[in-house]
């Protein structure tokens, strides 16, 4: 079985580049954000094209892309699950939830399934302790459930 890949088609790349102000180094974060949104990661070839378009050295692009947690060099899953590891969630089964998610998907924390469906990460306290344990599902918070039931629900039909 071949691994699915995120298609980096030339049209989307050129659209992305066209929206950037040529030669404006300060547009770099915005460019990387657009790349991450379009391809669920910052592909190397897109980063190189961005560097040329903005007249920024590739080393700076790499530095910024690796500094911020919002950027990833490898494709993230369609669904990004961030398990809150704050004190309240920790006490209410977050470790169990995390373990269940990871073992069901067969990945390590921070990893992505081979079919690029799921990424599982941990996050610092998201401030929703009332609904612990909390998971952010593509940015939306879910919680208030038994860890194993939650794991099942989050992964849908997958086992």
């Amino acid at each position: 079985m071949s691994e699915p890949a995120i298609v980096i088609d030339a049209k989307r790349v050129s659209d992305l580049l066209d929206r950037l102000p040529a030669g404006e180094a300060s547009a770099l974060p915005e460019a990387l954000r657009a790349a991450q949104a379009a391809f669920r990661h910052v592909p190397r070839e897109v980063a190189a094209a961005v560097a040329r378009r903005l007249s920024v050295p590739a080393s700076r692009v790499f530095g910024l892309a690796t500094f911020h947690g919002e950027f990833s060099l490898f494709p993230k899953g369609e669904v990004v699950l961030k398990v809150c590891t704050g004190a309240a969630c920790h006490g209410r089964g977050a470790p169990t939830l995390l373990d269940e998610l990871l073992s069901k998907l067969g990945i390590a924390s921070g990893g992505t399934t081979k079919d690029l469906k799921f990424t599982v990460e941990t996050t610092n306290c998201v401030g929703a302790c009332a609904m612990a344990p909390v998971v952010s599902v593509n940015g939306e918070l879910r919680g208030n459930a038994e860890p194993s039931a939650m794991a099942k629900e989050l992964l849908g039909g997958r086992s």
Partner: protein, 601 residues
């Protein structure tokens, strides 16, 4: 249509205030925490339509008490309803609006007295605040410029631009004693003056900080406009976290609408002054809030702080003189300009006039945003406004100033919340976050948790922060795992002191606060960890053994139901028992026990 002068502006205000004449306005909170607000608004609207009641259902920004949401207010009657569901719409339309009666379940229960209040002016935790920066919180739709104008926003800017010189504006801000709410509390007036007097052809004014942007973006923009006018900046930025989608959308819209109305952009309000504002987005990392890091991020660079020689006021963004102010400070600026410095100084302390927005959370009955005068004591905040410690627990400590704040104990409850007194006790005003901990918490574990987080947040530029926080976290982790030694305590203290003394930026300088302040106040608990191998708070699993006090246990089985390992046995109405072989000391049982029967041995 552009407002081309002060007169046009005041006419616009009258028009905005008069647009709901003859209709009852109902505001439904659509803040970040009030999920379900949209459905409530729709239900009220359709119910009113069917009943033939003429209503203007408007959105409101966050009130700062999300646990009570969705909140519905009827401003004309001063009513404040909490926890509203779409099914409540008929009652709201007929009873509340029609007859001014509020069903008990929709009134706010006071956390301390259990009494219910429906009038905003009577709800203790709201009435006890002095909302200046939050003057429009929940009272306007942050996405509606007319709401803002009706509330008087941009009036102070109009006054400044048309009747005051930049020097006069700076003099007023200086006289008010306004201090920057973002961190160290530096004098805003002095900063503005330094920027105005710095050599440079053009300069920048920048706003930073997310909370006020979600609640009252136009107040922040008005403050920024006044700052720009004062220092002579013609370009500015609002810097917001890219991941706070709500703030981003609101600010974007606010800049667009204010520019379209001639309140920003070219020749503002028909004057010669022009100021163009753009939105710049940054990462969610902690260091992205540091002032020099903010400016680097706007330039598209990695947000590593730089040493402040020279200061940003002299050479900041793109090498030009720059004022950077927190959005909370900027929201206060129009108030100072409109009412004058003497009026502003009537609240707060002599050193720190005015108010501070605090975000109270943790084990407290009523959390949320509290705006109180500087000098208000921690006791008033926690036990007065916050209604005391949640459940039946006792107050143990409060972390004051956010993740890099310090831990204060019971003996510090009468500390005035102000820069000087807090610093003297190893805490900071910082982000204004106050997290309350009860007697089931462990100060060592709290220190470990925050030090560990902050170590990962270090940008990596300077050695003490990058390496020092890592080793502090390592030592603390060993202690909480029961592998610490008494020699670790002086080592912790010595390392924490150097990290605080020698780090480059505010993050490194304040990160050890949590270590030093817990060592100062809870040394006995540290000693228990390293000498007796015990965690008195019952948090550090490796050092905790729970037991059920059979005298107190009522045999309700609540603990059995939540125990993830099945370690608790005992029939109903019979005292229960924890099998120490199976128990993992997760503490779930203790959170459920109503009789305080689960004790740490």
């Amino acid at each position: 249509m552009k407002l081309d002068g002060r007169e046009a502006f005041s006419r616009a205000g009258e028009a905005a205030r008069g647009r709901d004449a003859g209709r009852t306005v109902v505001r439904v909170c659509r803040g970040g925490g009030c999920r379900g607000g949209a459905a409530v608004a729709a239900a009220i609207e359709s119910t009113a339509r069917e009943a033939g009641t003429v209503l203007a259902v408007r959105s409101a920004g966050c009130h700062g008490c999300c646990d009570l949401g969705p909140v519905v207010t009827v401003p004309a009657a001063g009513l404040f309803l909490a926890g509203v569901k779409p099914a409540d719409a008929p009652e709201i339309v007929t009873k509340v609006i029609g007859a001014g009666e509020v069903p008990d379940r929709l009134a706010v229960k006071d956390a301390a007295t259990k009494k219910r209040f429906a009038r905003e002016a009577e709800i203790p935790f709201l009435a006890g605040q002095t909302r200046i920066g939050l003057r429009n919180a929940g009272r306007i739709d942050p996405a509606d410029l007319d709401d803002a104008i009706a509330a008087g926003t941009y009036g102070a800017a109009a006054k400044a631009l048309t009747t005051m010189t930049p020097e006069q504006v700076i003099a007023v801000i200086e006289a008010s004693g306004l201090r920057g709410r973002g961190g160290a509390g530096f004098s805003t007036g002095l900063k503005w003056r330094a920027c105005r007097e710095a050599t440079g052809d053009d300069r920048f004014a920048v706003a930073n900080g997310t909370v006020l942007l979600e609640i009252d973006p136009h107040a922040v923009l008005e403050g920024l406009l006044i700052a720009a006018y004062a220092v002579g900046a013609h370009e500015g930025f609002v810097f917001a976290r890219a991941d706070s989608a709500r703030a981003v959308a609101l600010v974007k819209g606010a800049i667009e609408t204010a520019t379209a109305r001639g309140l920003l952009g070219e020749r503002i309000l028909g004057t010669d002054f022009s100021f163009t504002v753009r939105l710049a987005l940054g990462g969610s990392e902690f260091v992205c809030g540091e002032s020099t890091a903010v400016l680097r991020a706007i330039e598209g660079l990695v947000p590593e702080p730089r040493v402040k020689y020279p200061r940003s006021a002299e050479r900041g963004l793109f090498g030009r003189p720059t004022v950077l102010d927190n959005s909370e400070t900027l929201a206060l600026v129009p108030v100072v300009v409109a009412r004058g410095p003497e009026e502003f100084r009537k609240v707060g302390t002599a050193e720190s006039p005015g108010t501070k927005v605090l975000n109270l959370g943790g084990r407290v009955r009523q959390g949320g945003l509290f705006e109180v005068p500087f000098g208000t004591t921690l006791r008033t905040l926690v036990f007065g406004l916050g209604g005391g410690v949640a459940g039946k627990r006792r107050f143990k400590a409060a972390m004051v100033g956010g993740p890099s704040g310090g831990i204060l104990g019971e003996a510090d409850l009468d500390t005035p919340l102000d820069y000087g007194p807090l610093a003297a006790r190893g805490a900071i005003v910082g982000s204004g976050n106050v997290m309350v901990m009860d007697d089931h918490s462990c100060p060592v574990d709290v220190a470990r948790y925050f030090t560990h987080s902050l170590a990962a947040e270090s940008c990596g530029k300077c050695v003490p922060c990058r390496e020092g926080l890592h080793h502090l976290a390592e030592i603390l982790t060993r202690i909480t795992l029961g592998e610490g030694t008494p020699a670790d305590l002086p080592r912790l203290r010595a390392l924490a002191r150097v990290v605080a003394d020698a780090s480059l930026c505010g993050l490194g300088k304040t990160a050890p606060n949590v270590v030093l302040s817990t060592l100062d106040r809870f040394e006995a608990e540290y000693r228990a960890h390293v000498e007796d191998r015990k965690c008195p708070g019952g948090v550090c699993r490796a050092l905790t053994k729970f037991e059920i006090d059979t005298d107190l246990c009522e045999g309700c089985q609540a603990c059995q139901k939540v125990c993830p390992t099945g370690a608790i046995s005992g029939a109903k109405k019979q005292p229960h028992r924890i099998d120490p072989e199976i128990c993992t000391a997760c503490g779930m049982c203790r959170t459920k026990c109503k009789f305080d029967a689960i004790t740490v041995v």
